[in-house]
Symmetry: C2
Subunit: 461 residues, 2 copies
């Protein structure tokens, strides 16, 4: 591969300035879920468009009813080169509890940790650092060859962390412009520090917020306690009833479309050698929750879940207040597998909740996104080429895995644009995405850039 | 009663200035449970001392490790006059959620509501308005007779809404100074708008905060959901398990010391004519919660409760965050009756919680006060005199009732100073104490002042 080595060498030389570019993007507080940061989200989109233009992309900020999209196009070395759509998201998770961060989440830095260099800050791993690996790969390629080996369309969204409300309408309205031979999605993790991974199964997601209302005001628990309904009690009973004693979810029809994982797949997961002790021990736990008698890989890749992501009600400040609250709220999400239907799960959950609301109380539901699980073919030519390219870059050969998280875009690409996705990412399990002290390894960034150079090259061959 | 009428007339004339004095006190943000308002609590104590001095009291601010006490003394018309200890508290509840207040909680006003005049603001009913009824009664008496009919010691505390941590040590250290023939406590309610009430039974209270910790950080619910323990799930199971399907509390030994209410007492409550519809309908409810088959009066006066007063964990902001929290917390309180032992209840609760914490998770407990239930004699001479005095002032005769709330001081007076209490107050059920839009009726304030004039006179006779 005579063309490859100079490009990889250029990526190595570029690394300091590639970091500078990433840090500029990381400093923009593009928290999509909080309306206070609307302006910052646009700022991030504009920054990306400006930067992509300097690399020769035909790039533009595209307005939506929510946060804007970034769309950019670049020709390939030949008109017959494959056409890829690269997807990433420039929005980030909220940073609370802010007091648990060791460094300012929006003032990124390079730090030394356990002998390795890490990049600190919100969005380093999810997903700004990851999307920039591809952008910087394009840059190195352009600088050496004046062109890219494949035709590239880029789509960056700004609502991935808030349910992507604008995405489907945007794909629909811009189908012709966005359709490519296949999509490259960089929002996933390595198997471990040395082993790159391609994700071929992703769980779906249903998010739902519920608000239980009892009395028309907060009540004194002395005057009314024992006679007046307490919405926190109602809510805790509802949430506690979501799982039975074996860890199974109790909703009617919840397991419709959930198949047992084939033995050969389970056997291949066994060879990865991940123990419960290692997986849970890393975050200070030791006992698997959820369904009994299944490995942690099966629980997180192949089984559906119900998780309460937030709960609040009554007095939560310092000291004590003997109040019976008027309202209590929770945010609940379901991870889906197989062919579980997001709409049916939402309906079943709502019916279950409604059935447990006393006659004189009420409940409101607020939907927060829904998407089915995704299964990609384990043996497509694209996947095989990418596997080889990744195996050439990293210490250990690439593996094909499942993922516990949800990337709804992959389903949308499949359904709306008839396009399969290749899911490659360079995050690590301890990157603390969605948590305080999010980080991305410098090696992930550097070898991530080199990996995309190799993958683009392999796809063009 | 030749002496009484001029004093009552003076109280009537004084009303505008009595309101001015109360409003000055109400403007001080003496929220005891929040450390941010420490200085305001002291300001309220100093204001009271200064005002009591102008009425001829020997008054002083008395430091404690928490918020200060106010102690004041005044001689009676004769050395042989009965000696009473009047108790109230100058601290108030927090005001959140602040957006639900129609008026600034700390800018009191007189408003017209349903043809009646009400005083608006935090502390109007609980307890600044109530304690000032006694102070203004003393003022009118002094202005007419130059003396008081009984010997008066005043004790105002500033920690009633935060578990009174300094009270017992203060009573112990100042036993000789504070001991009187009996205590007058003004922190309770009328039976209804026309019917004054003397409370003879009060529920006790145990407060406890629990913090459940699972992983050592917040986790992504996609990567870890289904395998990692979710502390909100653990907490909701614990709280949901506190009550069985009949509304009984499940803690071991919880009902030790709880007696069935005698039929004659229940019969006397029946004559009060309070229906479930009226009691619950007033706050927008209709179905009694708690133990089945008991009247709302029995549930709130004579049965113990377990109530979750606050719960929080995970992401509670705008939008959605697919996080598994590291911690989840709740504030729980128990109302006690009969001879239930606060320490035993706390121990039983802690053992129950601890037994439901998975091996790799932990729980912390933070106590928030504890006091047993109080039962006073229904036929003491003091109670009889007060009943007559109140019946002379109000449209309907006074009734002797139970109370669902807790006033731990009454137990402390009994145990530590060997002193019975007379519990008289002029609040109304719809005063929204502990809630937004707390109010006190102008009639409560005005006739409350007149009531204490009559009671002091009656006690001296």
């Amino acid at each position: 591969m005579p063309d490859l080595m100079p490009v990889l060498a250029r990526a190595d030389q570029n690394l300091p300035s590639s970091l500078d570019q990433l840090f500029e993007l990381l400093r923009i507080k593009s928290i999509s879920t909080d309306p206070a940061y609307k302006g910052d989200c646009r700022k991030a989109a504009v920054w990306l468009v400006d930067y992509l233009k300097t690399l020769g992309f035909d790039a533009s900020v595209r307005d939506t009813p929510g946060h804007p999209m970034v769309v950019a196009h670049h020709d390939g070395a030949s008109a017959s080169a494959p056409h890829v759509l690269f997807y990433g998201h420039y929005d980030v998770q909220p940073v609370d509890p802010i007091e648990l961060w060791d460094n300012d989440p929006f003032e990124p830095s390079v730090q030394e940790a356990a002998g390795r260099k890490i990049l600190t800050g919100r969005g380093t791993a999810d997903d700004k650092g990851q999307l920039m690996t591809f952008v910087e790969a394009c840059r190195a390629y352009k600088e050496i060859h004046g062109s890219l080996p494949v035709r590239v369309t880029i789509l960056f969204e700004g609502e991935e962390e808030s349910g992507s409300p604008s995405l489907k309408p945007f794909l629909e309205a811009n189908e012709a412009e966005l359709k490519a031979d296949y999509a490259l999605v960089c929002d996933t993790s390595m198997w471990d520090r040395d082993t790159p991974a391609i994700a071929a199964a992703l769980r779906g997601l249903v998010g739902e917020e519920i608000v239980v209302t009892a009395a028309d005001r907060d009540l004194h628990s002395g005057l009314f306690g024992g006679a007046a309904a307490n919405p926190i009690h109602i809510l805790t009973k509802i949430l506690a009833g979501l799982h039975d004693d074996t860890g199974r979810i109790t909703l009617d029809g919840f397991y419709d479309g959930v198949e047992e994982t084939p033995e050969n797949i389970k056997a291949s997961w066994e060879t990865l050698g991940l123990t419960t002790e290692a997986f849970l021990g890393d975050v200070g736990l030791s006992v698997p929750s959820g369904e009994k008698g299944r490995s942690v890989l099966e629980l997180t890749w192949a089984r559906p879940t119900a998780e309460v992501n937030g709960i609040w009600g009554g007095y939560t400040g310092e000291g004590f207040k003997t109040v019976i609250a008027a309202k209590a709220s929770a945010k609940v999400s379901f991870r889906l597998v197989g062919t579980q239907d997001p709409a049916a799960i939402r309906d079943s959950f709502r019916a279950y909740v409604q059935s447990r609301i006393p006659a004189d109380c009420t409940v409101e539901f607020h939907p927060h996104g829904g998407s089915p699980a995704i299964h990609l073919s384990y043996d497509s030519p694209v996947l095989t080429k990418a596997k080889t390219a990744l195996s050439d870059e990293w210490p250990k050969p690439a593996v094909v895995i499942g993922m516990g998280g949800s990337i709804p875009i992959v389903g949308d690409f499949q359904k709306m644009l008839g396009m399969e996705s290749l899911l490659v990412g360079f995050g690590l399990a301890d990157d603390r995405i969605h948590s305080p002290n999010e980080k991305y390894e410098l090696t992930s960034y550097h070898k991530g850039i080199r990996s995309w150079i190799r993958i683009m090259e392999a796809l063009a061959a």
